[in-house]
Symmetry: D2
Subunit: 292 residues, 4 copies
């Protein structure tokens, strides 16, 4: 299956590499050309616009940082919509808003193109090791057709529904689950540190109690305050929490935990932590308790 | 090692049974005699007061619902302090406040007795199956002496420090971690349900993402809204969250998540959910979103 | 000064009437014609589009419910921009978002028109009695020119700055101040009612303490739970709190009180209170405490 | 009417002075003798214990900082209870907890003494100028008997009920109302300052809108960040917010605004602001937004 891939950051490069390894002829595009060239040495063809990366592809992936970046690449000049053939699919792996997922679905439908939303869980290491969790939603036939591609980038593919935005709703709520865990650790650690109780020992207990690799990894990051390099930047975490709140707002659902997260991530922005890992929400919580 | 055990609710009975199985001669006391008699048939001796359950014991356990219940059994008429021999230990497995743990430590020390705090994580099933996680804190020599008893009731014993209250601080923060997870699930499920996205499917994804038995079990309870019978009553959950907030307050640490939990658990009390499982905080969250 | 007026709800009709009384020739437009006809009997001319209401006017007012309504009237077919003469002013008295105020400013500037933002404080009764507080911002010369019009509708005109959006930022923050007062009353009343302490007596004390007509009026509304007819609908209150949060978000400022307000107003929406007065946030707070 | 007065801080001294001016023979006691001597020069007799200040008095006032201080003076060695005659009244003007007010009522009743709770609103300047608002609760006959004393210290006396704690519940809720106003100003000012909108001008508008001297005075304090000298110390403000939360907790009432206040005041403690005015909650809010 001939495919295109647009957006070659840490996540995108790793995903594209796994698609290559699975034997799919791949055309790639990235705004800054350097990253594309690395993949070219591994067998990918280079395109100089999103349209060209889409032209001969049965499916074109995007893995970009936010709604605006995806909008530019899809609807902008020489964008995907102007290149993608009738019936071919755009697979968006980015974490985008529910509202924008609906707009993408309509935009492609109007042009006889297909839209599949397939956001993923996992950090760059997981992407490299084909350990991502993939949430796919879209027209059943299209999702089935793209299934081998999705299976090539992750350890498990969940079918989230027949409307693309449903996958985005789930992805956003999943990120909310992780962000809540970060805040929870942060608050517990702050209280224990101020009480002069060993918070690393507490983390060990929590690892035994929860038995979760996510707790283990993020818990260590928070306990050791290792917020660089960022696996997922705080400013992107804020974007996702805002989009969860927008989703909830559209359905008249209060989410007070999400509101606390938003407030703390905004403080993180105000403190200049936008490019630190989002687990640096712990630094905000610690500051609020007078810890430095 | 001759031991006493006071407080034979679901948790206490299971723990006492494991101590018997481990070969320790056991004297038990319970306010309502019926539960003690069940253990008597398995080899325990019955005492008719906490003092008598303590008299010949090298160590006496308490497993009771709150500070007040422990205070009555320890300092009340025919209480533990009046029965326990010089140098013998009181092992408190209850989830009590940090302030009260300090008071217990001082009260026993004044009488030449030893206090070990050893709160546990786990629901009644875990207690039966010797799967509890035990957090023990107290004078090193005493904790070492009691170690075989602690190992007899759980799957792992953590040494939390040389001051008993440290174990209680960790236990309270651990319960806060669980309560936060419950609220987080509740908010995500509420938003997804209102958006008509399948929240059971979302739970499956979270199980794959977090890989945690605690998430799996509590997540199912919340998703299915099975709040009876209560593994841990909401009113006890509120007590613990209040005690976390008191701990944090004593050390000038804001814990906004804990404040949200407190508010929602108070609503749960106001709605008559005091004896439902504390995961019924989800019902409060759902009501706030207009779900019934 | 010949003027136009678009948007003849309770607020707009009262304001337009005061402009007529001040002797300004007035042309009015309203989507549903009935309300316009009432003013026609008092001397206003009727226009059948926003463009026509703007054509011969030196200034045209809008008083509409939200950004979308203003956008339609300004930029839509036969909108204000297509009718307003070079150099003439659009005076927006609506409570709109800061982002949209910037868009309006740019949109008019591009067409050689002038934009003055002049949101107002006050309920319909205040509008009728020329008791509004007017916050005006825009190019100094334009604001000065419009000053007699602004003075004709309120008891005091504040000059909020030379950029129109500044008035909107202040107006939104002012509404946040009022909404916070409503929530504060709601929480205090709920606690006192549950403690069986007379909350009406408490209100009397607060009136003596604060000495504020706003406290007196809204306090009575909340204490008596008289949420109909709505002076200001809950759904509009939610809109404003959301816009405050957006403003704060753009400048990385946490506003936890605003987040609580948003959550409670969302519950109000979920409970079907969208058309009750926004002081019915008190009903949400009371429900959370189990009061009915 | 012969009276005693215990607790001669800024508030107490001013109140005692007004009682002297009203012609009541006064015996005073203060832990540090200096302040008592100032009053002695104005005609008060000095006592060297609370018991002696109570011995010949028909009523003895206390104006102290918290529950613990009142407990010491009432129930401690040579305390009020050991001096006060049968039928004589203890009038507590301190802001104490509801639970402790109940304990005081019972403690005095057991000894044939009468307890009247009469907390006050107003800062030291108001106390000097006899401008306090007095909330009195207790047995009707006793309150009537003490009425001339209460009227001598304030501008208005409210009868809050026949059970002393009711006055304390109202006083605590009143302080919550003020604290909420402080937080609200703080958040609005922070957002406006970051948006570079003139927050002093905003305050002027709010003064016109609310027309409240309390808003005017506290608003200026917050806008100008003049937190010293403290009219009411932050640590006492935290104490009151905690007591509001305890009251609400006893009646299963969530108060999310009070929870936010508590968290911000705890940050204030952690930042070393305990002796600044409680309006310095604004400094916490500003810090959270990255303002310094």
């Amino acid at each position: 299956m001939k495919i295109g891939f647009i957006g070659l950051g840490k996540m995108g490069s790793a995903m594209a590499r796994n698609l290559l390894r699975a034997g799919h002829p791949l055309t790639v595009y990235n705004r800054t050309r350097g990253k594309a060239e690395a993949l070219s040495r591994e067998g990918a063809r280079l395109a100089d616009s999103p349209a060209k990366a889409s032209r001969d592809s049965e499916a074109v992936f995007t893995m970009l940082s936010d709604d605006a970046a995806v909008a530019e690449v899809v609807f902008g000049e020489n964008g995907i919509t102007s290149g993608l053939q009738n019936g071919a699919a755009h697979i968006s792996a980015s974490t985008i808003s529910v509202a924008f997922a609906r707009r993408l679905e309509a935009g492609h439908r109007d042009r006889g193109q297909v839209f599949v939303s397939a956001p993923v869980f996992g950090r760059p290491e997981a992407a490299e090791n084909k350990k991502l969790i993939v949430l796919a939603a879209g027209p059943t036939e299209a999702v089935e057709r793209c299934r081998p591609l999705l299976d090539a980038i992750g350890r498990q593919t969940f079918l989230a529904g027949s409307e693309p935005w449903q996958a985005n709703a789930m992805k956003l709520c999943g990120n909310f689950m992780i962000a809540s865990m970060l805040e929870t650790f942060s608050e517990a650690f702050a209280a224990l540190r101020k009480a002069r109780v060993d918070h690393h020992l507490f983390l060990e207990m929590m690892n035994e109690l929860f038995g979760s690799p996510v707790y283990r990894n993020y818990g260590a990051t928070v306990a050791d305050e290792k917020f660089e390099p960022a696996g997922f930047a705080l400013r992107l975490g804020l974007k996702d929490v805002r989009q969860v709140l927008e989703l909830a707002q559209d359905f008249s659902t209060p989410m007070p935990f999400a509101s606390v997260l938003r407030d703390h991530l905004l403080s993180g922005m105000a403190y200049g932590q936008e490019n630190l890992d989002w687990s640096s929400i712990a630094r905000v919580v610690a500051k609020n308790a007078g810890l430095t």
